[in-house]
């Protein structure tokens, strides 16, 4: 995996569709282009929603980790 450091962690545990992507769309403009945030979510829909959101908005998903009910998504602001 590519090397990167995460700027902060966004806790979206318990949130259901469409809130995780609503929240990330509001959070991402607050960080600089090129920075990476870690998103914690329990919504399995996020596994396909985050890549779809990133593709449409021109941002990047660097990595997705799944561990016992918790999903970690690493989002890089590109635009």
């Amino acid at each position: 995996m590519a090397e990167y450091t995460t700027l902060k962690t966004l806790d979206y545990k318990g949130l259901k569709c469409p809130m995780p992507i609503v929240k990330i769309s509001q959070e991402l403009p607050k960080i600089a282009v090129g920075e990476v945030v870690e998103v914690l979510t329990t919504d399995p829909g996020s596994l396909s929603d985050f890549p779809a959101w990133a593709k449409t908005t021109g941002n990047a998903i660097l990595e997705t980790k799944q561990e016992s009910g918790l999903i970690k998504i690493y989002v890089k602001r590109q635009k």
């Binding site: 259901k16 809130m19 992507i21 769309s25 509001q26 449409t56 908005t57």
Partner: protein, 180 residues
């Protein structure tokens, strides 16, 4: 020669980018007055706004009643308008499920489950839509037909009143059009 070609390509590219046509925009007609359909329309609208899309929701017919503000009272309605007013849901939280309403038991159970499973309700979705800049257009004809007045509608930051041409102009430049 090669430089000319590059210039040519760049100008064609610029033209393509500026050409009129579908934008990253969603236009939706909210026709139905059911709770489940209002939820679906709002989830799609807020999701689209989060995807960076411009969103316009056009409320018409049965959909319009969900935009009434239960706290607002208006006077001077005729008898038929009053009757319609009483029979239509007074605001989004009085809407019913399209199926399994079961005299309120089904709708109540759905609302309970939504709270328990932390699914956003209509109040939260409307608030989010407002923050994300989702536009709401209320059909003037539907309001007039069913005896609703502009003064009794909800306060919403991006609200306007319009007709079919308003919707068609928005829909014509949208990449997605939906009818719910």
């Amino acid at each position: 020669m090669a430089v000319d070609m590059e210039k040519e390509l760049a100008s064609i590219k610029a033209m393509l980018e500026e050409r009129p046509g579908p934008k990253k925009k969603l236009s939706m007609i909210v026709f139905s007055g059911d709770l489940d359909k209002h939820l679906a329309s709002m989830i799609i609208a807020t999701g689209a706004a989060a995807m960076g899309m411009e969103v316009v929701m056009f409320y018409t017919f049965w959909g319009t009643a969900a935009l009434r503000d239960p706290a607002k009272k208006v006077k001077g309605k005729d008898l038929l308008s009053k009757m319609f007013g009483m029979m239509l849901p007074k605001g989004r939280n009085k809407t019913k499920l399209s199926q399994m309403h079961m005299a309120g038991a089904g709708t109540g159970m759905m609302k309970y489950l939504m709270t328990k499973k932390n699914v956003a309700n209509l109040d939260e979705l409307f608030e989010t839509a407002g923050v994300l800049g989702v536009k709401i257009v209320i059909c003037e004809m539907s309001m007039d037909l069913m005896g609703m007045k502009p003064e009794e509608m909800i306060d919403y930051p991006h609200k306007s009143i319009g007709g079919v041409a308003t919707f068609l102009a928005e829909a014509g430049e949208s990449s997605i059009q939906l009818f719910l």
